[in-house]
């Protein structure tokens, strides 16, 4: 079983590898979830696929030696598949999902019943009013997602995020404000960028962090969220 967040490179027919994020990987193949329209959906059942991996650093869940009690997951709706392997990795799991509008939210029935689901939309058409970063006053009948997120951050033992990386500096700031001295790896952020080589050779996957440029393929794709704090 690969670490959630780690990846394999798959030959789906194009001139470059496609990263897949498996939930199960053994000699018989792998199980992964891809968005609609992904190149993998064009494969005929039973087609063998050439794979390289597993590669990269996934989510680090058990640093203190005991299983997790309280895990918070935060995702934009299009990034949900990358967090799916984490849905049952702690006694209590809360999942915050943000979408542009109601129609893009996932159906609650697609989640394990024990998981606490918190929905938010940018247009307020369902759940909390996004974006997740914003707290404070809301239009009548709506509640800001930002306040709820901060509550959950104080509750959680660990936070795993999967969003557009451009939002991570703001999330890192919020974590620093809500937690006193958050430990390294308390909040971990998944980054999705093209990874043509997967071994640190091509420099296509570089992302800028507080510790200098890092390669998502070898130092990531999961990074300490605090590495994204503005310097």
């Amino acid at each position: 079983m690969p670490v959630p967040g780690a990846y394999v490179l798959a030959d789906l027919g194009g001139p470059l590898w496609e990263p897949l994020y498996p939930t199960l990987l053994d000699d018989a193949g792998l199980v992964t979830v891809v968005p609609p329209g992904h190149a993998a959906t064009a494969l005929l059942p039973g087609t063998p696929v050439n794979l390289l991996g597993p590669l990269g650093q996934g989510f680090r869940l058990v640093p203190t030696g005991h299983p997790l009690d309280r895990l918070l997951l935060v995702a934009e709706s299009t990034y949900l598949p990358y967090l799916r392997p984490l849905y049952q990795t702690a006694s209590s799991v809360a999942l915050v999902v943000e979408a542009t509008t109601r129609a893009q939210l996932p159906s609650p029935s697609s989640f394990p019943p024990a998981l606490e689901l918190i929905l938010a939309t940018r247009d307020g058409s369902a759940g909390y009013l996004g974006p997740l970063e914003v707290e404070g006053a809301a239009p009548p009948g709506l509640e800001r997602a930002g306040a709820r997120l901060r509550e959950l951050l104080t509750w959680a033992e660990r936070v795993c995020l999967a969003c557009d990386p451009g939002r991570y500096p703001a999330f890192a700031q919020i974590v620093q404000e809500t937690r006193l001295l958050p430990g390294s790896d308390f909040a971990q952020a998944f980054v999705r960028v093209p990874m043509p080589c997967g071994v640190g050779a091509c420099d296509v996957c570089r992302i800028t962090t507080r510790r200098g440029e890092q390669r998502a393929c070898v130092e990531g794709p999961v990074f300490d969220l605090l590495d994204f704090l503005a310097t």
């Binding site: 470059l16 590898w17 050779a201 091509c202 420099d203 296509v204 570089r206 200098g212």
Partner: protein, 290 residues
Amino acid sequence: MIELAPKHKYGLPLATPLMPASGVFGFGDAYRDLIDLALLGAVVTNPISLRPRRAARGQRIQTRDDTFVVHTGWPNPGLHKVVRDYRDVWSHLPVPVIVHLLATQPTEVAESVGYLSSIANVAAVELGYATQATTRRAVDCMAAAQEGTLPVIAQIPLERMAAWAPRFANHGADALTLTAPPRAVLPISNEGLDSPVAHYMRGRLYGRALFPLLLNVLSRWSDKLALPIIACGGIGSPQDALDCLTLGATAVQIDALLWKDPPLLNRVGHKLRQRRPAPTADGESSTNPL
């Protein structure tokens, strides 16, 4: 055994006429788990500048059919830091290292080659140029590189072949890498968003489609340039590598096609080891059968 710098006082002998192209293999041993590095003639580093360069902003790669455009901005922490980080790796590689330098200013090039002359297992420098650089500047950088003690290979952009290749050959380059990938532009796919404003990215073009352009360059130029030529561009099979040698190349570089197919380097390496010796002078001409 081939010799890539026959006129240089120390020469540049390689056991196999095979190496990765700069920009696709990292700064040292990134591919150590996937490739038998001993099958290579040399390792060529990603482009290195004297001062640090940050990664380009915006989208860095875009595919179209079998081709793709890459735009990294040649990020690197600067020559001194690269050497600090990799000199140990380099000294333990089973093959020599060719350091690719971004040739921007003659003074920087001179400083860089001076610094590199004392680094263990660095056997040559390869100069890379901005496609838009002036010919004057490019030649001056060449001259500056020759102030050092290492053999100098110049990598010529496809677009600058006619203007630069003869000049470089006459100004003392030890070998030429033909060619650096051409610049190309593709629209950026917005993952299905029907954006009203079109966005485009410019970068280096890679893919098997470069190979017929490479063979054209080789067949036109190999007879006219009296120095070793390293063929680079879209080589995707052992047979492609052999075709390059048939058309006058002394060695080959495998470019970004190796990302998806790292064993390609092993396959080409094995094939080149089995190769028959070149035909004798009284036999069929071995260069330019076109």
